[in-house]
Amino acid sequence: MTWVVVGVTCAGCYALKALGFLVPERVMERPVVGSAVRLLPVALLSSLIVSQSIGGAGGVRLDARLLGLAVAGLLLALRVPLALTLVAAVAATALLRLAIGI
């Protein structure tokens, strides 16, 4: 079952890249298409951040992930390199969880 999901995702991701080589430039220059392609991912990422940091079984679960997200936000604001930011966010979450078990 998951192979189907993997296959569809791979094919779709390649098709989206190839599409950029095939479509005439004016299609993407249309304001509606341009702003949809720009704004939908922004909204999707925002939603993923919220649902992945407080979502859980039965809706909402507040736990150590929130500290990880806060650390990531702080380090991004300080322009710390991305890889280091990711490692720090994960480590902060693991340590808080180890300390107080949430």
Partner: protein, 218 residues
């Protein structure tokens, strides 16, 4: 190696090492979402676009259905269409079906970043090679480690998704429209998370956030 290419190789390697660390995280998350080692590696080899891959496994790990997970991945993958539109004029037309696979944030940024037109193609190709290698090695290592260590929450891996998505989102917020999309999507998610099945709030919030921002722009 001529002078123009040396800084390209240096920058590409730095980007690739960082992507390797992201790859390890992705591999571990993928197996925690009940993908097999081979499935995780297949995604990194054949989908080869980090944000979409993270979105897919995050939604699956949260118990979301496959359609919601795939839709989230493809919505983020649509950025690559825009990147391809921008780089295609810098690269030779020949071999485009192969090059298309490597059109991602990093390769586009490096190709567009070159002042001399003779360096567009080397920058694209060198970055593609370095990132592809490290992303896939990272994924395999992460998946293997994930399979042997068990509960990913113990290592704080459940914070990796939000951190990656935040890192992607911040540079995209360039004006009021993006801010409106961000806030509308966040509110929609908060309200619908307790009442809708996993995975659905994300798609609904993407649609609501995107539409609200587009309408307000007029």
């Amino acid at each position: 190696m001529n002078r123009g290419r040396r800084p390209i190789v240096r920058d590409a390697l730095a980007i690739a090492v960082a992507d390797g660390i992201f790859g390890v995280t992705f591999g571990a998350l993928a197996v925690s979402a009940h993908l097999s080692l081979l499935e995780a590696c297949a995604l990194s080899l054949l989908a080869f676009t980090g944000a979409s891959q993270f979105a897919l496994v995050s939604v699956l790990a949260a118990g979301g259905g496959s359609p919601a997970a795939v839709a989230s991945a493809l919505l983020l993958g649509a950025r690559n269409t825009l990147y391809a539109l921008r780089v295609r004029s810098l690269l030779p037309r020949q071999w485009w079906p192969l090059r298309a696979h490597f059109v991602i944030d990093e390769t586009t940024g490096m190709a567009l970043g070159q002042r001399e037109s003779s360096l567009h193609l080397p920058a694209f190709t060198i970055t593609a090679a370095c990132v592809f290698m490290m992303w896939n090695i990272g994924t395999a290592i992460g998946a293997l480690v994930g399979l042997t260590t068990g509960d990913p929450r113990r290592f704080g891996l459940d914070a990796a998704g939000p951190a990656v998505f935040l890192a992607l989102l911040v540079p995209m917020i360039k004006g009021r429209a993006e801010l409106v999309a961000t806030l509308a999507a966040a509110v929609t998610t908060l309200v619908t998370l307790p009442i809708l099945p996993p995975g659905v709030p994300v798609l609904l919030a993407a649609a609501v956030g995107g539409l609200v921002a587009m309408v307000m722009r007029r």
